[in-house]
Symmetry: D3
């Protein structure tokens, strides 16, 4: 099990592209989320364990509208990343400042929301990294409700199971299934080294054809 220090080291030395390549090599080729999930804080890198949430659209104000939304956010542990599926809702503003503040207080490392969020300026101010499809200034009350958490969800068209590793940076979000995490991460650290050699030769003006023949990396 990874510690926060492990996650910090990965955030510094790895990047989503090299993890995607490592998973390709292991035969896991559909682990990158849809490209319309973008970071609220451009320089953010999120690494952590998925706590998944499933929210769905509704059309009435329920008696207890935030029950499981609060419960799932209160359940976050240090090292967790909240991964919320709204089934691509464009009506609901699933996440906002107060939930970010609460998640940050719990030690969460970020949130990935396959849907819309609000209070974006304030989320940027408190520095809680969130990836989302877009922004809409509406509350979830009467628009969406959390029906379950810590269940399998589709987020950005990738299946995410609770406990999967999440790595998100400016290029996008990748999901590393728990059972291949050690292997994928080891390969990623290796590949970073080879890419540096390739880059150095290209910077000196070498042709791609020759450099690729030498290192087998592109």
């Amino acid at each position: 099990m990874y510690t926060n220090e492990d996650f910090d080291r990965m955030a510094t030395e790895l990047y989503s592209a090299v993890l995607s390549d490592a998973m390709d090599a292991l035969g896991y080729r559909d682990q990158a989320m849809r490209h319309d999930l973008r970071p609220v804080i451009p320089e953010a890198v999120i690494v952590g364990r998925a706590l998944t949430v499933l929210s769905v659209d509704i059309y009435e104000v329920l008696d207890n509208p935030y029950e499981k939304e609060m419960e799932s956010t209160d359940a976050l542990q240090p090292g967790d990343v909240l991964v919320a599926s709204t089934n691509r809702s464009t009506r609901n503003g699933y996440w906002g400042e107060l939930l970010s503040t609460a998640a940050q207080a719990r030690g969460a490392r970020g949130a990935i929301v396959d849907g819309l969020i609000r209070d974006v300026r304030k989320i940027q101010e408190i520095g809680f990294p969130v990836f989302a499809v877009g922004y809409k200034p509406v509350d979830s009350q009467g628009r969406g409700v959390v029906v379950d958490y810590n269940c399998p969800v589709h987020c950005g068209d990738v299946l995410v199971n609770p406990g999967d590793l999440i790595f998100a940076d400016y290029d996008g979000v990748v999901v590393i299934p728990q059972r291949i995490a050690d292997d994928a991460i080891a390969r990623a650290f290796e590949k970073v080294h080879k890419e540096n050699l390739t880059r150095d030769e290209l910077l000196k003006g070498a042709y791609l054809k020759d450099v690729y023949a030498k290192y087998g990396i592109l």
Copy 2:
């Protein structure tokens, strides 16, 4: 009737999300525009009265291609916000630098365009706040024509009547129908206060469940 000073105070103390919540409480739940209308100037806050314009796609260069486009822009008064519907055209560049310069000279507080615009760098330079769906470097001549203004329009999937209040910030654009404006604004000022109390407790590490039980705000 609101003055420019009223609009300035709202721009400083309120935000689109709290106005959306205030309208929810009054039963007006579909007042936030589609999330793909984004600001050209990220820090812009637009507050003012809607002057609406309806532009439609055409396929020939008319004799007088800009007639009503100029007329409607020349009709802007201090405190006005131009709200233009192009019926989601992706062929036409409805708005640009010269129109922004003219609108600013008339005292307009901004423009909301449900369509594409051009001259974006220059609009940023003169500091005229515009929200639009995207950018395209084409002129409207032979692509679109204004058929009416100060008429009801759909902009970002919300019905806007002339004189409605527009509030736009980084989270998006809300439309406040004239008849509920006073009530909605009063409630928004109230809610801002309660949110501050909630935020303070969450920052101290309180659980959402407990804070929500205390203030009833999320």
Copy 3:
């Protein structure tokens, strides 16, 4: 044939909108690419000759996955702009840091990719200007393959022939067919002058109607 100095001067004094207007006047009215091709480096202006590439989606890892992708990039000459069509693929990450480094070393002035790219932060660091539809941290191996280059392609819904002039700035990307390039550029330089006169009068508070009557420019 234009030199790099010609391209530099165009990049400084012209912009995509005035070139679009010049082509409108010549009857070429569909030369602006779809608005979802956006710059990786916001202040970038790309001017140069198109070297076109056609990539298509595949579903297996080929023996020689990068052959023509490397060949086409190695073929870039000073003054060239790589224009890549992926037929709007959202699975493939066509372009990345190493290809940018190689293209820059060859003297290419930029790349226009109708598809997704990766290594965006590093591309920004080396300062190679790219326009793309979005970002995804995946490699092209097993996802896409270059089938031809220096052939006609559709990029951003505009037909691009090898050797066409490309002009891309914050407003978008325009394609200037070779046979009208001299004429379009001459007209663009002229129109820049007239717009300055119009702007000056509007800044003094003149009405659009009057200024348009005087200069015939909007």
Copy 4:
């Protein structure tokens, strides 16, 4: 409260277009569902009271996968029309032959599904009228689950409350809110008469301009 005989008479003498016009006249102008809900049996006319169901996408096989789907179908009464929202799911096959057989046995007059269905040939054979967005041969188990019924839902982009009147024919589906049903139906019967007069004159070759001036109907 309408009887099955009332519904039969409406089905014979009225049609969706004249009910839409009657609601327009009462100021209810957004009561026609999205045009992609199409009938499985082309000649079907469905008239009845809405029993609403809300299904949402899930990504695991639940212990009791069909619980509320069966409960809501077993709850159908004679005169009812099942109105199911899946929030536009394209993964799930919400409805099929066995549910149609059960609904028909309960006396239901039809089903409107904002989503996909299966067993279409068999549904046609038993003659149970269904409107749906499309067909997919998959079961709902592990793809969708009913979270509530007899609640407000959006179906085909129209809000439907339990008990609202549904009228569906080859032109599409309209929703008549309970509180205006009597008024709308009375107006519809009236308008049918006037349209007959207009049609007769047009068939004799009269110009639209003249016939419209005479009857005020188009």
Copy 5:
């Protein structure tokens, strides 16, 4: 100028695919409309001269809501085909039974509507051939208005000028610009003959490679 007898002969002996091929050979390669325009009467073949109409979405009920819609329909002459662009509206039901009845009485040969229509069953009964994107039981009043007719329009993504030849059958709709009509039609009659020879050999079991080598037709 073609007579109704010419149009009848073309309808019997030609088809949209062979006309598309004939226009390809003349360098006109974008003359087939988008594939979502489908016939209300499956066996219908429409051949005639385009009378174009431009309708746009509005959001209020005008004083004279049908003025130009009636005027343009009353202007139809024998041999005409009404070609209506709604700029892809999904809110408006542009066309219906009474307009079909009026158009048929004027001698029109059919209608092509890039948008939605209503009264489909009755249109089928009177046998007036219409192609449309879909069906919605709503009136145009307060939803759309005709702003011009006999002007250039985009219909199904193809530019149509008044007087262009329209050919529509089960495969789709092609637009034959007036200036190439004679040439395109002559080539189409020729190609029909060659295809018959190719088909005969394939029916006897010949391989495509050999038959294509012989006739150069596929």
Copy 6:
């Protein structure tokens, strides 16, 4: 290896829905194609082995435009089903009458085209079953080209390998990977029996809850 007689028996006794359920039970849950692939002949049932083809969009007329399209069609064997991916092209008409005639002569059992086709009426006449996304009367020359065949393709969003079993009926198209075909087919035959028992009880008026408790089938 299945014979044509095996395929005929499956076509008579099985259906796509029961095969989908059988694959669900084996953990293969994404084997049904996108719902917009629809049959040209409504009553058609296609069962056979996939011969896959990959076509891509191009923008010039090649010297030998039909080379691999003819080669792949000429390669069809009795029992084969042509499965063509065009990467969702809406410009190209991939398939038509002459190819259908040739495929039928080779003993092919049908074609599944993830794209557009033409000559639909004639294909219906010769009775060759095809599933496609839509119809467009254009030739593939200058619009698309076959780059490979008997390679893995995505068709209707499902991965298809050469030799996979295809089952297509009015509900849609399912792909049965070769390695699970025997198991899936055996389970499907079994499930057909249980569904008959369930249906019989429902027809007698039993409640879903009780019948499901008894047979565990819905």
